[in-house]
């Protein structure tokens, strides 16, 4: 046993040395956010391109498949919608708002894009005035439950689209696109109904689960939502990737770059 340094009054550092480094973590904490930043950025760029690029506005449909970026389809022939505005723009604010106010995504982008904080126990630089979610714009995160209501509406429409994907021009069938759309809507359902706001609305706001018959029923529902909610990050990831890939598949079919395979 050897002591390599002795803390004598002379060796004790004064104030400047007392300042601790940004972090004393030895692990690769800076890598934690990269998967989210890369995948989400790719998704955001792809979705924006699909929504605003004029040529893309013609590649949303390959019978019987409708891209989730364009569903519900609003005025695709531009009878009243200006040519410069794609029908997707009328749609995407809903799912986008739901995801941007989602508690999982908030954690991910506050860390990944705002470095607020970049990682746990890693000091922040340059954030002089911190307001969190107490003032504009982040106080708007409190409308998450309203975006949940909007997301449920879109989900109903996407379930309709997925069922409609069984009905080909020559009769009922099953194509690769049908399976993709079905998987996509199942993943979106898992994500939507695992939402923290929904968990609160089902029963989280109650203090007593046994006091009334309705509270007992809500407790059962709350337990189900809680099981989904425990894996909310998983659902958030897979549903984001699936919705992007579903759109890409239908876009490639619509552009004639791919041919759908009929399974049944």
């Amino acid at each position: 046993m050897a002591q390599t340094a002795t803390p004598t009054p002379n060796s004790i550092a004064s104030m400047p040395e007392m300042r601790r480094p940004r972090t004393e973590r030895h692990d690769a904490w800076w890598l934690e956010n990269w998967p989210f930043v890369i995948v989400f950025s790719i998704f955001a760029v792809y979705a924006t391109w699909r929504a605003v690029w004029p040529h893309e506005a013609t590649l949303y449909w390959s019978d019987p498949y409708l891209s989730p970026f364009y569903s519900p389809l609003i005025d695709p022939q531009h009878h009243w919608l200006p040519r410069l505005i794609s029908p997707a723009i009328l749609i995407l604010w809903g799912p986008l708002g739901f995801r941007m106010t989602c508690y999982y995504y908030r954690k991910a982008y506050y860390r990944g894009y705002f470095a607020d904080p970049a990682a746990c126990a890693v000091s922040e630089k340059g954030h002089k005035r911190y307001c969190g979610e107490t003032s504009f714009p982040f106080i708007l995160q409190n409308v998450h439950r309203y975006f949940f209501y909007v997301a449920v509406f879109f989900l109903v429409v996407l379930w309709y689209d997925a069922i409609r994907a069984f009905f080909f021009p020559n009769g009922v069938g099953l194509g690769v696109g049908t399976v993709i759309m079905l998987v996509n809507v199942v993943l979106l359902t898992g994500y939507t109904f695992g939402c923290h706001a929904w968990r609160h609305l089902t029963g989280g706001g109650l203090d007593c689960f046994s006091c009334t018959a309705s509270a007992q029923a809500r407790h059962k529902l709350w337990q189900g939502v809680t099981r989904l909610n425990e894996h909310h990050m998983f659902w958030a990831w897979v549903s984001m990737i699936s919705v992007g890939l579903t759109d890409l598949y239908i876009r490639l079919l619509a552009a004639g770059m791919l041919k759908d395979i009929r399974l049944l």
Binding site: Q3, R25, H26, D27, R106, Y110, D116, C120, A121, F209
Partner: protein
């Protein structure tokens, strides 16, 4: 015999620096054992707070290799021993000496939270399903690692405006209690500043009791704040129900 270098913060008040100590490794050793070894053989004046050595008293909180942890629950063989093991006091709280910090601010925050207040005429009977949620919160050992890692306190120094994760857990344990009748939601918004939390989940990551602080305490409380302050439909519904009850 295998050895490890412990780089331990030494100092008090506003001065100090890390000092290296080499300690022999023994099987099953935890960081607190290594610190005790230093204290016993090399630095008898080393200040370190500890009590149970079983992860239940919450006394031996420190930052091991930069991560807030209980020293008694951090095994030496889980750490990379090819480099010194850095041990620092909790950054969020004022230093007393070496690894001991002054956490009394937490007790002052605690006093702001109204204690359990049974509803008038309540029947003293509870079902397990009603207390499952609050039992999770009762596991808290008040190690204050969540308070230490929370960037609102740690980096932004919002001690006057923000209660911190520990006290959201405590408030949740009271607010969700089936027999409690007090309303602490205005306190959460105004005094404890729950809006400052941007749910980055560091508190959950460091909790040695594995309490789901963010998902089960903070977010449900944030939603209760939304009910009371930000949701016009919920407000309308409460008015209608209030009128019906009247």
């Amino acid at each position: 015999m295998a050895e490890a270098t412990m780089r331990i913060f030494r100092g008090e008040g506003e001065t100090g620096k890390h000092v290296d100590y080499v300690v022999p490794l023994v099987p099953g050793m935890v960081v607190l054992d290594a610190v005790h070894s230093v204290q016993a053989h090399q630095a008898p004046d080393l200040a370190v707070r500890w009590n149970c050595k079983a992860g239940k008293c919450g006394s031996c909180s420190a930052e091991v290799n930069g991560r807030p942890r209980l020293m008694c629950k951090t095994r030496m063989d889980d750490l990379p021993l090819d480099q010194p093991v850095t041990i620092s006091p909790l950054k969020t709280f004022p230093l007393i000496k070496d690894l001991a910090t002054d956490v009394s601010w937490n007790y002052r925050v605690n006093k702001k939270i109204p204690p359990f207040q049974p509803r008038p005429g309540v029947e003293w009977k509870m079902y397990q399903r009603d207390v499952d949620r609050v039992q999770e919160f009762r596991k808290c050992i008040e190690c204050f690692l969540c308070q230490d890692v929370c960037h609102v306190l740690r980096d932004h120094g919002k001690k006057d405006d923000f209660g911190g994760p520990r006290f959201f857990v405590r408030t949740a344990s009271l607010e969700m209690h089936p027999l409690d009748g007090a309303d602490r939601v205005p306190l959460l918004k105004k005094t404890l500043g729950i809006g400052f939390c941007n749910i980055t989940k560091c508190c959950t990551e460091v909790c040695p009791e594995e309490i789901h602080i963010t998902d089960n305490a903070i977010i449900p409380l944030k939603e209760r704040v939304v009910d009371e302050f930000y949701d016009p439909l919920a407000k309308l519904w409460r008015k209608i129900r209030g009128a019906k009850t009247a």
